[in-house]
Symmetry: C2
Subunit: 201 residues, 2 copies
């Protein structure tokens, strides 16, 4: 049922962004309009939409609200996804404030840091806790996902500790490749690579 590739996921989130703003303007949208905005082939757009189980209307296109809802359903925007941020530096703190997360069901519970100065401070209503409390927090509320936003030189060390604490998914914002056991998944948020790709365009 869920054999939906990362490329499709990526495009669906972009379609969703379009629909969010289209809603106010019109009831229907065609695969041609979406394709134009994103420089895609229109039949690719139709195929992606078909994967969401939405049927279009000849001559009119797709219902904006229906399609938007179907994408949310398919990608699970309404399921609550809890996550910790490790590293309360500028990037970590910016991510807590990233208001758009909540629209997608992503719920940041707390930040962890090793800097005594930062402990117990509050960022956007979330507490900064000492890293030593990670193990306890994880076993208590069983959150297995973390955003890693520490300096690259500490990335491996912090990862080792997080894995020891029971973390299973690491969303890695540092420019470091992490050694982890096979049971742990690392997703590389490769900002630098994005920039290099952009230059290539």
């Amino acid at each position: 049922m869920n054999e939906i590739s990362n490329k499709v996921i990526n495009r669906l989130t972009l379609y969703h962004c379009i629909l969010k703003y289209t809603m106010k303007e019109s009831e229907f949208i065609s695969s041609f309009e979406i394709a134009d905005l994103l420089n895609l082939d229109n039949s690719l757009v139709r195929k992606d939409i078909a994967l969401c189980g939405v049927l279009g209307h000849k001559k009119q296109g797709y219902s904006v609200t229906e399609l938007k809802g179907a994408i949310e359903e398919k990608l699970g925007f309404s399921e609550r996804k809890e996550i910790f941020i490790i590293g309360a530096g500028s990037l970590g703190s910016a991510l807590v404030k990233y208001v758009d997360f909540k629209d997608y069901g992503i719920d940041i519970l707390a930040l962890f840091d090793n800097d005594p100065q930062k402990i117990e401070q509050d960022v956007n209503g979330k507490k900064i806790l000492p890293l030593s409390k990670l193990e306890n927090s994880i076993s208590r509320i069983s959150v297995k996902n973390i955003i890693l936003a520490v300096p690259a030189e500490h990335a491996q060390e912090v990862t080792d500790y997080a894995v020891h604490c029971g973390v299973r998914f690491i969303w890695n914002f540092t420019p470091a490749v992490l050694r982890v056991p096979k049971s742990v998944t690392v997703y590389y948020e490769n900002i630098i690579s994005s920039f290099m790709q952009m230059r290539n365009a």
Copy 2:
């Protein structure tokens, strides 16, 4: 000469991260080691490396320093790439502080914002300028790349202005799809999509 795909660019930056930290430890690295760390097929790694024009040594692998240098060369890390950030909120400010940018030749010159409170403030040594000065700045020093880090609801409006000012590349950190002329390239830094992909793993 430069028919190198985005997927290859993405992997090369990850290889580079590995090499940076491997340098202290050993002189050579094999395609098997790199492949293991990233969960890739080892022949894919060898193919990518071949694209950089690096020859390996039978039984030993690749010279770490040589390979690292070749990737830097291929991806143009040493070419200076100037960019403005538009939006001096928490994300924009975090990006100015993202120390790793300079290792890749990315040079953030200034931030622009519309909030009078922020104007003339200093973030990490870079001035926050009023958005109205963008046009002048662009024509004066001919920087055509921007990072867009404004709230999603202003993304289109700010984009229209930036395009009018002569911007050609937009690295879009907002969850909004932008309407731009064909001559302008938008690169979507799709953080939400990354998260959804991660869940899928």
